[in-house]
């Protein structure tokens, strides 16, 4: 059986757990705990403390395994564990929380130092009126060179077809030789 491992990462409240719950065909293995940090409690009540795991099986015997990381930097040992075995990854960015871009940038840096694998940037919450545009977010994340930067697409983590479309884009990336 061939297993393709995809990691979904990003800052707190970007929609990683939701993304995996939306795409997985099995009941997602999650490790959500109640939030005690005040700045996080304003955004959501539960947070991932180890990882989320979802799966999609295909008749051919292939299997897509999707792992979601915690968003907080104190869990970087989990980021490391998961990314080392990944074939590709998605960074989710909450487009209307510019205060999180710095932490997203740190995640991006952490991951790209560890691995050189296909990457997709998914923008969530783009329906908010104050959401940033993809090009502005690219600049905020330090991805200024358009020719080498990873694709940036909008994702609605609660919508199955949107999440599938993101996954297809990622797999298409894996078929093309890497530019960076």
């Amino acid at each position: 059986m061939e297993i393709l491992r995809v990691v979904v990462t990003g800052s707190v409240g970007a929609g990683k757990t939701t993304f995996i719950r939306t795409i997985s065909e099995i009941e997602v293995v999650d490790t959500d705990k109640r939030v005690t940090e005040e700045e996080t409690a304003d955004i959501k009540s539960q947070t991932t403390v180890a990882f989320d795991f979802g799966r999609l099986n295909f008749e051919s015997g292939r299997s897509l395994h999707i792992y979601g990381t915690p968003g907080q930097e104190r869990f970087e040992f989990i980021w490391d564990m998961l990314i080392q075995k990944a074939h590709a990854y998605i960074i989710l960015v909450n487009a209307h929380r510019p205060e999180d871009f710095r932490s997203t940038r740190r995640i991006l840096k952490f991951m790209s130092q560890k691995v050189q694998i296909p990457l997709l940037i998914g923008l969530t919450h783009t329906d908010y009126p104050d959401a940033w545009s993809p090009s502005d977010i690219a600049i905020a994340l330090g991805l200024t060179d358009e020719s080498t930067r990873p694709p940036i697409i909008a994702v609605n983590a609660t919508d199955r077809s949107s999440v599938f479309a993101a996954m297809i884009t990622l797999i298409e990336l894996m078929q093309t030789p890497m530019l960076h």
Partner: protein, 168 residues
């Protein structure tokens, strides 16, 4: 890796996802704020008891032979109080403790082991034991390999009984 096939199947799967086109109904906020912020009674109580917690932990480490360190952390991985060997980073240890207990509990549930009493990591140089301490805290105890396991578990049970009321 032959991805073409997989891609085809994903695309088929996508087509089968018969989500009706999103009507332009009023968009409900994706992240509803369920509770008004500033509701953190736990934190306030912890602040009141912080020095008391620290004392209890300090007494435990100095009063129990072969115990090398202890940390009390929130279920989402933030340190509440700790007495740790010098080379250990409190923030990192706290996050690891929360991950390990949460994952252990989840594995216990998936593998039908019932409710989990403790998670034990046994290494060449000693033990790391994790237990829940009320619903608002997780306790990590580090002990050297010389420790008698029965005594260790008993002492942990006692200190949990002492700490749980302070954090609940």
């Amino acid at each position: 890796m032959d991805l073409g096939n997989l891609l085809k199947r994903l695309k088929v799967a996508l087509e089968q996802v018969s989500t009706p086109p999103e009507p332009s109904n009023p968009i409900s906020p994706v992240l509803p704020l369920e509770e008004p912020p500033n509701q953190s009674p736990i934190r306030e109580k912890i602040m009141i008891n912080a020095s008391m917690l620290q004392d209890v932990l300090q007494n435990f480490v100095s009063g129990t032979s072969d115990v090398q360190g202890i940390a009390l952390v929130s279920p989402d991985g933030l340190a509440l109080a700790s007495v740790l060997p010098g080379e250990m980073d409190e923030e990192r240890t706290a996050a690891m403790s929360a991950s390990m207990l949460s994952l252990g509990e989840r594995i216990g549930r998936e593998l039908a082991r019932g409710s989990i009493d403790r998670i034990v990591v046994e290494g060449e140089k000693g033990y790391g034991v994790l237990v829940g301490c009320g619903i608002d805290a997780v306790l990590l105890v580090l002990a050297s390999s010389a420790v008698k396991q029965g005594i260790l578990f008993l002492e942990i049970k006692r200190i949990v009984a002492k700490l749980a009321p302070l954090v609940s």
